[in-house]
C-alpha cells in the first residue's frame, strides 16, 4: 500500500470497527437504530474511550522508544505499571470505590521516583534499570496486598485495574483526555524531525542542532502524562503501547511525521477491537481489555514479524 494511503485507510478501518462495536452487545448483535440510550450513553462513550486509550498508549510508546532508543520500551517501562497497580490495589483495599486517582498517582509517583533514582545526565540504561526495579517493587507490593487482604472481592475488583477495563464512562469525563491527547499529538508532530534526530541518540541529535535536554524532558513528561491519563481511565492496558508503535514502524518507516498518526490510529483500532471482544465474547461476563488486546494483537503481530523476517 502507498504510504500516503495509510492514514486514510487506517481511519476508515477505525470507523468500521467503531460501527461494529456500536452494534455489538452482551445480548448479541443489533443494528444501531433506532438510536437508544444504550447506544448513545453506554456504548458510544466507551468506544470513544477505547480509541483514546489505544491512541494515547501507542503515541506514548513511540515517544518512549525514541527517547530510550530501545525497541523494547513501552509506555510502562519506567515502572509505571507497578506503581499504578500498587496505587489502585491499595486504594481498593483501604476504601473500595473509585481508584482512578490513586492508580494515576501511583504511575506518576513511580515515574518521578525512577527519574530521581537515575538523576543526572540522561542515561537510557540507568533509566531502564531503575524502571525495572521500581516496577518489580510495585508489582510485589500489589501481590502482597492481594494475598493479605481480607476480602476475596478485592481480587475481582482489582483485575480491571491490573489488566485494563474501560467501564461505562460519562461523555463529560472524555473531554479532558481527548483534548490532552490531541494537544500532545499535535506538539509531537510539529517536532517530528527533531524526534527523528533524537532517536539517533543524544550526541548525534545535539550535533544535528537539537536542544537535547529540553526535548528529552518534554517528551518524557508527555509520555508519562499520556500513560497516567490512560491508567486513570482504564487501568494498565499492556501490550498496545509496545506493538502499535512496532506495527506502525513496519508499515510506514521510522519518520515520526508519519509514525505518530499511524501508531495512534493503529492503537485506537486494536483497543476498540479488543474491547468489543472483551464485552461480548464471554457475555454476560466481561474480561479485562488488556488481556484481549494481547490475545488478539499478539498473533497478528507475530504474523507481521514472520513476514518481515522472511
Amino acid at each position: 500500500m502507498k504510504r500516503q494511503a495509510l492514514v486514510p485507510a487506517l481511519g476508515l478501518s477505525c470507523a468500521l470497527v467503531a460501527a461494529i462495536a456500536l452494534c455489538a452487545g452482551p445480548s448479541g448483535w443489533r443494528l444501531p437504530w433506532p438510536v437508544t440510550d444504550v447506544i448513545t450513553e453506554l456504548r458510544a462513550p466507551r468506544v470513544v474511550l477505547a480509541a483514546l486509550v489505544g491512541a494515547a498508549l501507542a503515541v506514548a510508546g513511540v515517544a518512549m522508544q525514541s527517547l530510550l532508543q530501545n525497541d523494547l520500551a513501552d509506555p510502562f517501562v519506567l515502572g509505571l505499571s507497578g506503581g499504578a497497580s500498587a496505587g489502585a490495589v491499595t486504594s481498593l483495599a483501604v476504601a473500595p470505590g473509585m481508584p482512578p486517582g490513586p492508580a494515576a498517582a501511583g504511575a506518576l509517583g513511580a515515574a518521578v521516583l525512577v527519574r530521581w533514582l537515575a538523576r543526572g545526565p540522561y542515561d537510557p540504561a540507568r533509566l531502564l534499570l531503575a524502571g525495572v526495579a521500581v516496577g518489580s517493587i510495585g508489582a510485589s507490593a500489589t501481590g502482597l496486598v492481594l494475598v493479605l487482604a481480607p476480602s476475596s472481592r478485592l481480587l475481582r475488583a482489582s483485575t480491571y485495574w491490573l489488566f485494563g477495563g474501560l467501564g461505562t464512562p460519562a461523555w463529560s469525563s472524555l473531554i479532558a483526555p481527548a483534548v490532552f491527547l490531541f494537544a500532545a499529538v499535535a506538539w509531537m508532530i510539529a517536532r517530528a524531525e527533531r524526534l527523528d534526530r533524537l532517536s539517533l541518540g543524544p550526541d548525534v541529535a545535539a550535533s544535528l542542532g537539537v536542544e537535547v535536554p529540553a526535548l528529552q524532558r518534554t517528551v518524557l513528561l508527555l509520555s508519562v502524562a499520556l500513560t497516567a491519563v490512560t491508567v486513570s481511565a482504564a487501568g494498565v492496558v499492556g501490550f498496545v503501547g509496545l506493538i502499535a508503535p512496532h506495527a506502525a514502524r513496519r508499515l510506514i518507516g521510522q519518520g515520526h511525521r508519519g509514525l505518530i498518526p499511524v501508531a495512534a490510529l493503529g492503537g485506537a483500532l486494536v483497543v476498540m477491537l479488543a474491547d468489543t471482544v472483551a464485552r461480548t465474547a464471554f457475555a454476560p461476563r466481561e474480561v479485562p481489555v488488556g488481556l484481549v488486546a494481547a490475545a488478539v494483537g499478539g498473533p497478528f503481530f507475530l504474523l507481521q514479524l514472520q513476514r518481515g523476517l522472511r
Binding site: 532508543q69 517536532r191 524531525e193 527533531r194 527523528d196 534526530r197 532517536s199 539517533l200 541518540g201 550526541d203 548525534v204 545535539a206 550535533s207 544535528l208 542542532g209 537539537v210 536542544e211 514502524r249 518507516g253 521510522q254 519518520g255 511525521r257
Partner: protein
C-alpha cells in the same frame, strides 16, 4: 576573514578531571588539521568539546567568531562524524536528509540536494535501503554524507578510516576530498599516513598539545617515539607525496 574555529586556553576532560589543558587551536576555512596521540591522550575528548557536546573545564571556543547555534544554522556551522554510531533503521536518504537539521518535511530543492549528494557519494542505488543493512564502508559513506549535506564550514571526524580495509580507506579519502569542497576539517586518527596528508598536525601528549605545525615538522621520528612510545621510521616520498611511516620497534 573569521576563523572557522578558535580555541583559547582550552581545558577538556570527562567529568571534572582535565585530560587536556592549555590547548590553543585555530582553524582557517578549507584547512585540514589532524589530532594525533596515543590511546587516552584526549583526541576524542577534545573533538567532543570542539563539537560542543561536552562543557569545557576552562578556556573558550568560538565557532565562526561566536557560539554554536541550534537547528539548521548549527549543521551549517559544524558537521560531526562519530567514531561509533549504532546503525539506525532510517533509510539512507532519510538519514542524509536529517543532516539538514530541518524542522518540517524537506522542500523540493532540499530533496534535490540530497539526491545530488547521494549520487556523488555513490549511494543512489542504496537510497531506500535501511542503514542497518549497509556494509561498514557504505555506512561510513552515508554518515559522512549526513555530516556534509548542509555544507558545514567545519567538519569534525573521529577516526574516519576506522574498520575500513586499505582499499576502502583509499576510496573513502578520495571520495571525501571530492565532496568536502571548502569545508575545514579536524580529524582524530591513529593512522599516521592519513595524518601526513593534512595541512597541519597537532600531537597530543602529556595532557597538552605538545607539537603543532605542518606534517613534515611535527611527524618526525623523535616526536612520534616520545609521544607514542614506539620506534618510527619515516619514509619520505621522492615525488613530493605524503610520507609513509613504519613502526620499527615496540
Amino acid at each position: 576573514m573569521t576563523r572557522v574555529l578558535e580555541a583559547v586556553g582550552l581545558a577538556v576532560g570527562r567529568g571534572k578531571t582535565a585530560v587536556l589543558s592549555g590547548v590553543n587551536l585555530a582553524v582557517e576555512a578549507g584547512e585540514r588539521l589532524a589530532l594525533v596521540g596515543a590511546n587516552g591522550a584526549g583526541k576524542s575528548t577534545l573533538l567532543r568539546a570542539l563539537a560542543g557536546l561536552d562543557p569545557v573545564l576552562g578556556g573558550t571556543i568560538r565557532w565562526n567568531g561566536g557560539s554554536l547555534p541550534l537547528g539548521a544554522e548549527r549543521v551549517r556551522t559544524l558537521g560531526v562524524l562519530f567514531q561509533t554510531e549504532t546503525p539506525s533503521r532510517f533509510s539512507v536518504r532519510e538519514l542524509v536528509t536529517l543532516g539538514l537539521g530541518l524542522d518540517g518535511p524537506a522542500s523540493p530543492p532540499d530533496r534535490a540536494r540530497v539526491d545530488a549528494l547521494l549520487e556523488r557519494a555513490g549511494l543512489t542505488a542504496l537510497a531506500e535501503r535501511s542503514c542497518a543493512q549497509l556494509s561498514g564502508g557504505e555506512a561510513q559513506r552515508a554518515l559522512l554524507s549526513r555530516a556534509l549535506i548542509a555544507d558545514p564550514r567545519l567538519l569534525l571526524l573521529d577516526e574516519p578510516t576506522n574498520h575500513l580495509d586499505p582499499a576502502r580507506q583509499a576510496t573513502l579519502l578520495g571520495w571525501f576530498d571530492r565532496l568536502r569542497g571548502n569545508t575545514a576539517v579536524i580529524l582524530a586518527t591513529h593512522d599516521l599516513a592519513l595524518a601526513a596528508t593534512c595541512d597541519r598536525v597537532a600531537l597530543l601528549d602529556d595532557g597538552r598539545v605538545s607539537h603543532l605545525g605542518t606534517a613534515v615538522e611535527v611527524l618526525t621520528p623523535e616526536n612520534l617515539t616520545r609521544t607514542l612510545g614506539v620506534g618510527v621510521r619515516r619514509l619520505d616520498d621522492p615525488n613530493g607525496g605524503p610520507p609513509l611511516f613504519r613502526v620499527v620497534s615496540a
